[in-house]
């Protein structure tokens, strides 16, 4: 049997290894140990070197690394404001050591996946961009965490730094249920009237202040022979129509329920509102409008085929982008017109983030840090007026103080008075009961959205459609 040979180090190997060892020691820890000993009596420890990119976040003074090593998955809708946020994701990982996987899915499918994930408690998504009407459902089912314990924990949150008072109060209210906060808003919008100011000027039309004015403006600008149409309400396809119809319904004085809790979506106000909606679109809408969502409406507007539409303010930058729009400098924005009830009603819309209750405690911490990072003012700045990337600037920041800041207002000057119109709409036209805040909303919206679509397609009169919707909603509420 062969004996195993033991290699003896040659002189050259020994000297080489020794030199390498000393080199490593010199360039790594040892000199600092020696320096540390010699400076042991210095007055104060050396200041922590802060990465300039993270400096604003480090001011929170919390331990951002407390969930380091964790991995979370977040789901958002495809949109400019989330694309911009996603560009900064490596910054969050650098700050916290938490890896974030982004899933980007259209809103309808995203909500379906979200509800399935929460109801089956699979914990696939740590957090999902959530619109306000889903909080009653989530809170009632105990699917998401109440945020107060997170906010009150100084190890997790520096309340002064986060400064919730600077976030639009109505957005926080919309992300709450029964007085408890469940989500922090990242971005939001008001629904605005987008109109062709050049054509209004040419025909001496004033910005519509009432629904009658709006109808009259549409009548005067409607020119179907030349493929130009008087207007639409932006969002008409089944179910999506429930983004716009509630504004008309409420402006007509409609109430969702009476004092006894019975549904009243077939009230006279509701029938009048629906008749107006159907009449406007049938007379002055583009052909096929019942199948249109906001991308089709915006596309028709920016290609010069539509005199006016209603659109979320976050989408207005597209109309001001010369690469995408033929109406740059030819459009204006306005608040929702007043309805017969004497009030203007815009959507209560923002995308906020709750914490999934089914994930591990460490993942919850990581998720809270992420939500805090997204909602914080430094993040809002670096994704809006501080943004130097390839996308358009965001126009839906959550901070009231930023809307008053000239630096921000300059970047959102998409149309004359844009910032003031959005701000006034949010402050004065937002109606917290724009949609009923009940857990049954998804099914209620499904019922009502379908019946409105039937009315628009002339499969039923507004009264027939709303009567049927009311019966079904009553059955739903009894179940």
């Amino acid at each position: 049997m062969k004996r195993k040979r033991i290699d003896r180090p040659s002189r050259r190997k020994f000297l080489g290894a020794s030199a390498a060892g000393i080199g490593v020691a010199m360039t790594s820890g040892l000199p600092s140990i020696w320096r540390g000993r010699s400076q042991a009596y210095a007055a104060a420890p050396a200041a922590k070197v802060v990465d300039p990119e993270l400096a604003e976040f480090e001011k929170a003074g919390i331990d951002w690394k407390q969930a380091s090593g964790e991995q979370i998955t977040v789901m958002v809708i495809p949109s400019l404001f989330f694309r911009v946020a996603q560009e900064f994701s490596p910054q969050f990982t650098k700050l916290t050591g938490v890896q974030v996987t982004w899933q980007v899915i259209p809103p309808v499918q995203m909500r379906e996946k979200h509800v399935l994930d929460l109801s089956t408690k699979t914990g696939q998504f740590a957090t999902v961009s959530t619109d306000p009407t889903y909080y009653p459902l989530f809170a009632t089912n105990n699917w998401v965490e109440e945020l107060k314990p997170y906010l009150d924990n100084p190890a997790l949150t520096n309340k002064e730094w986060l400064d919730l008072k600077d976030i639009f109060p109505i957005w926080l209210e919309a992300a709450s249920y029964n007085g408890k906060l469940y989500g922090l808003p990242y971005d939001g919008e008001a629904t605005l009237l987008l109109y062709r100011s050049d054509l209004y000027g040419a025909k001496n039309i004033a910005v519509p202040q009432t629904f009658d004015d709006l109808l009259e403006a549409a009548r005067r600008l409607h020119d179907p022979a030349n493929n130009f149409f008087g207007g639409n309400f932006g969002y008409h396809i089944r179910l999506i129509n429930m983004y716009i119809w509630p504004s008309i319904f409420r402006a007509y004085g409609g109430e969702w329920f009476d004092k006894a809790g019975n549904p009243t979506v077939n009230s006279k106000q509701s029938i009048d509102a629906t008749s107006y909606y159907v009449e406007f679109l049938t007379k002055y809408g583009p052909p096929g409008v019942a199948n249109w969502n906001w991308p089709e409406s915006l596309d028709a507007f920016v290609t010069g085929r539509l005199a006016q539409t209603f659109i979320g303010s976050a989408t207005v930058p597209v109309a001001a982008n010369p690469a995408k729009s033929q109406v740059v400098g030819k459009f204006g924005v306005g608040r929702w017109p007043k309805g017969p009830a004497g009030k203007r009603v815009t959507s209560v819309w923002n995308w906020s983030f709750p914490i999934n209750k089914a994930i591990s405690p460490k993942a919850k911490k990581a998720t809270w840090l992420w939500i805090q990072w997204m909602a914080s003012k430094p993040m809002q700045i670096q994704t809006s007026y501080g943004y130097k990337g390839k996308e358009e600037s965001r126009s839906g920041v959550n901070r009231v103080s930023m809307w008053d800041d000239e630096r921000y207002r300059k970047t959102v000057a998409f149309a004359p008075g844009f910032a003031d119109t959005v701000l006034t709409s949010i402050r004065e036209d937002t109606d917290i009961d724009w949609r009923p805040r009940i857990p049954e909303w998804p099914e209620l919206a499904n019922i009502l959205g379908l019946q409105l679509h039937r009315a628009l397609a002339k499969q039923a009169t507004p009264k027939e459609a709303l009567d049927e919707a009311n019966v079904k909603i009553a059955e739903l509420m009894k179940r």
Binding site: L239, N291, P442, L450
Partner: protein, 316 residues
């Protein structure tokens, strides 16, 4: 004595059979049966786990009132969901839409697919290119097909087909948002995408037909129609039935193209049963009632498939 249904029992010489090596024990553990079960068990487990169990679960859910918007009210409801659907106007509407969509869609696919196969069975310059072009739609994802027709082809005034219709004086139409036209449009979309499948099966079947009866028919029949009716179609009957079975099951389960084109609208004009199930269970979050609708859909598909298979057996 050997069991006649053993895996290798094809009547070959005794010594040639692998079983000859395993005669030492008669126990089940060393038998061919066990080996056979071991071989098929991975597939069987997958099939039962991913196919059968979810169906059993679906049926069991249908006996409960399960609504995610109000879990406090979830309870056993027996046949409650089935009684509810008997009085549900939307359910009957979706049944009617499904029947029209399936029957007309499958019939058109068979007729057009057969016509194309007979036409391209002949050899002429460019026939290979034409065959390739015809089968292109079938390789597209249904969701893409729905979007393609909705945006590029049928958009009033701007879609290519609507533009042609307008240009030749037939007018511009709301193909997907007019209650009467929408159902017709989604049938056309379905036929456009899936006729190539029927065409391929029929073409392959034509190539496989025996030559003698065809040559005899050519001498005996007075016209091409007689040849087609009395000889070719009877010989092609098994292929026609197979296409009818497969396409009927697929049409009953259609979803993506319609969802992309109309989402079941306008109103409920194109809401086939599958879309109604989706809206009920995943939009309205009525899981129990949605499961009952799903069970009905399952039963319809199974019954239709069994009827077709029985018909096929009788033909055989």
């Amino acid at each position: 004595m050997r069991s006649p249904d053993r895996l290798w029992d094809r009547g070959g010489p005794e010594e040639a059979r692998p079983v000859a090596q395993g005669r030492r024990s008669a126990s089940f553990l060393s038998s061919e049966g066990l080996f056979a079960w071991l071989m098929i068990s991975p597939g069987l487990v997958l099939m039962v786990g991913l196919g059968t169990l979810p169906l059993v679960f679906l049926v069991s859910l249908s006996f409960f009132r399960i609504n995610l918007t109000n879990p406090a009210g979830n309870r056993w409801t027996g046949l409650g969901n089935y009684i509810r659907l008997l009085a549900d106007g939307q359910f009957w509407n979706s049944m009617q839409v499904t029947a029209i969509y399936t029957i007309s869609g499958v019939a058109l696919q068979i007729v057009i697919g057969m016509a194309l196969a007979l036409f391209l069975f002949r050899v002429f310059p460019g026939h290979k290119l034409l065959r390739t072009l015809i089968i292109l739609p079938v390789i597209l994802a249904p969701i893409v097909v729905g979007m393609l027709w909705r945006t590029l082809l049928l958009t009033p005034r701007f879609g290519a087909l609507d533009y042609i219709s307008y240009s030749v004086g037939l007018g511009s139409h709301e193909w997907l948002t007019n209650s009467r036209l929408a159902l017709l449009s989604i049938i056309v979309i379905h036929v456009w995408q899936w006729t190539p499948f029927a065409f391929l099966v029929f073409l392959a079947s034509l190539h496989a037909l025996p030559v003698e009866p065809l040559e005899a028919a050519r001498l005996d029949c007075r016209s091409w129609w007689q040849e087609l009716w009395y000889v070719i179609l009877p010989l092609m009957a098994p292929a026609i039935v197979i296409v009818a079975i497969l396409r009927t099951i697929a049409a009953l389960n259609a979803f993506a193209a319609i969802y992309a084109a109309t989402e079941g609208g306008p109103g409920t004009a194109t809401q086939i049963l599958n879309l109604y199930i989706h809206n009920t269970a995943f939009v309205g979050l009525s899981i129990g009632y949605g499961s009952a609708l799903g069970t009905v859909q399952l039963l319809i598909t199974v019954v239709v498939a069994l009827l077709f298979f029985r018909f096929r057996m009788r033909m055989a």
